[in-house]
Symmetry: C2
Subunit: 147 residues, 2 copies
């Protein structure tokens, strides 16, 4: 089984997409992460849902988690506020700022090796200059176990 | 909004579940990770789908990803073989071997802080000694943006 047989259609954002819009897509489609394309429309980076969660936790709570308990409920209302005005490029983690795409004829093991090495929740699949789709870790397991 | 209002029902495995069975659940339900309970039935660890992907990549391919390309298709057939006979405890990553559960009345920010600090794809929610459900990163974003 080849990468283009596993890849599924998936929402895509660009580095200039509003971070709040990216968070909405992650939330709405229950995605582990979202593919980020560069100015040329080619896959460039990956934004994991876990990274957005990290971003919405105030710095002083990250430093001292016991403070989270004393935050009142209005704090949650301000989460959207924290993302508004930010771009995807402002929240993409450093280790996922450059995530190469797999080729359409790569094997499951090649995609798995890439995902493991890059610690990415998903890998894009390209055929020539066209985006075929995206493979997540659980999709990859599904394909591997179907064999 | 409180943790027990966000938590959703979710499959659960134990440390002694067959690793192949856990991989099947991750694949079938397209989960970013699965909750692992201890002998007392309480949440103990988390097994991310990405960790299972890492596990199925042969060690020599992890060391030299260029070797993945020369693996023939039969390699993928052997992925299930690699997991068979292993237990969940054999594949749980060290940093997620002890993941405390959130309390049912924790706020979104408390759960987010916990998820960020533990680098876990999900957090279990307990009410007294009962498992209420599980919150993933994307579910947490969905709840936060609904506010």
């Amino acid at each position: 089984m080849r990468a283009d047989q596993i890849a599924e259609e998936y929402p895509v954002v660009s580095m200039d997409t509003d971070a709040l819009e990216a968070a909405r897509l992650l939330a709405e489609h229950r995605l582990p992460g979202i593919l980020v394309t560069g100015t040329d429309g080619c896959p460039e980076a990956v934004l994991p849902a876990s990274q957005v969660v990290r971003f919405i936790v105030p710095k002083y709570v990250q430093d001292d988690p016991s403070l989270a308990g004393v935050l009142d409920e209005r704090m949650a209302d301000r989460i959207a506020e924290k993302l508004r005005g930010k771009k995807v490029r402002d929240v993409v983690p450093e280790h996922l700022a450059k995530v190469p795409a797999a080729k359409s004829d790569d094997t499951i093991v090649e995609v798995a090796a890439m995902m493991a090495r890059l610690r990415s929740p998903l890998i894009a699949v390209m055929k020539a200059r066209e985006l075929v789709g995206v493979i997540t870790a659980s999709q990859l397991l599904a394909a591997a176990l179907r064999n």
